[in-house]
């Protein structure tokens, strides 16, 4: 197994891409620009999944998230009129309260992540490198193996959830409800 190459460089590159993409998502006037920034963020996150030895989740992220869900978003943006929305006021009247709530949440995160017990943070690093050639098979065994399938029932429930969501979306988008 090859050791990872230049992990800090790629981590900070991808993290910067994600943060900048996220800031662009919540600040752009044009919803299409926001969607493109979000796609950039999602692709950088897929690369981070690869760095975390999760190739299957990375593939699902690219195909389903960046491919499927974002195309759905772009279609809906085309259906509604974005020209008028881009000319209006972009932030609501409660933006100060929103920023304050987010700052409180950020303080909570900082408090948790800087907590140390006996000189170590609460989340140290796992050291073992793990081969990714068996990753997809192992996930499939957890999801729908008859013997080891811990999550088989949850998997079926998820498919039912998707069916309900599709029916709901079709009913919502009908001419008259």
């Amino acid at each position: 197994m090859n050791p990872p190459v230049a992990t800090p460089f790629f981590f900070y590159l991808l993290a910067t891409t994600m943060i900048v993409g996220g800031i662009l998502v919540i600040t752009r006037k044009n919803a299409v620009h926001s969607a493109l920034a979000l796609i950039t963020t999602l692709l950088a996150q897929a690369a981070l999944y690869l760095m975390l030895y999760a190739p299957f989740v990375a593939g699902v992220q690219i195909i389903l998230y960046a491919g499927g869900i974002m195309v759905l978003f772009l279609f809906v943006i085309m259906l509604i009129s974005i020209e008028r929305a881009a000319k209006e006021r972009q932030f609501n009247k409660q933006w100060l309260v929103g920023i304050a709530a987010a700052a409180a949440l950020g303080g909570l995160f900082i408090a948790i992540y800087t907590t140390t017990t006996k000189g170590k943070t609460l989340f140290p690093e796992g050291q073992v490198s793990y081969g990714e050639s068996q990753n997809t098979q192992a996930i499939a065994a957890l999801l729908f193996d008859r013997v080891h399938g811990t999550y088989m029932f949850a998997f079926e429930i998820a498919s039912l959830l998707l069916l309900v969501a599709i029916i709901g979306a079709v009913v919502m988008a009908k001419k008259r409800i």
């Binding site: 992990t7 800090p8 981590f11 993290a15 994600m18 943060i19 996220g22 998502v25 919540i26 752009r28 919803a31 926001s34 969607a35 979000l38 999602l42 996150q45 999944y49 975390l52 030895y53 999760a54 989740v57 699902v60 389903l64 998230y65 869900i69 978003f73 809906v76 929305a85 209006e88 006021r89 972009q90 932030f91 009247k93 309260v97 920023i99 709530a101 987010a102 949440l105 995160f109 992540y113 989340f123 140290p124 690093e125 796992g126 050291q127 073992v128 793990y130 081969g131 192992a138 996930i139 957890l142 999801l143 999550y151 959830l161 309900v164 969501a165 599709i166 709901g168 919502m172 409800i177």
Partner: protein, 115 residues
Amino acid sequence: MEAMLHITTLHYLVLGAALFLLGVIGVLTRRNVVIVLMSIELILNAVNLNLVAFSRYWQGMPGHLGGPGALHGQVFAIFVITDAAAEAAVGLGILIAFFRNKETVNVDEVNLLKW
């Protein structure tokens, strides 16, 4: 500097927290409901990043919860992605119905139930 250059689980958690905060700010302050939905996607992705990072962390841990087969975090990330797809489909369906009735996409004009 030493702590900066050795990428640990905590680095991924901090990145996830930053993305989560960006999503929260977007949900709480934006008026355009499409961008509010995209901010919710940002929040779900931050959670996913944490789940996969913890999965990697447990793969390096001993015990019956750890070991190379500890992929529960990645399986949960897949379930979260499924939920995100369902949420996006229903949310955008509601958005289309709403836009057809009210001719606007601003969340603070959705005040029919407001007293």
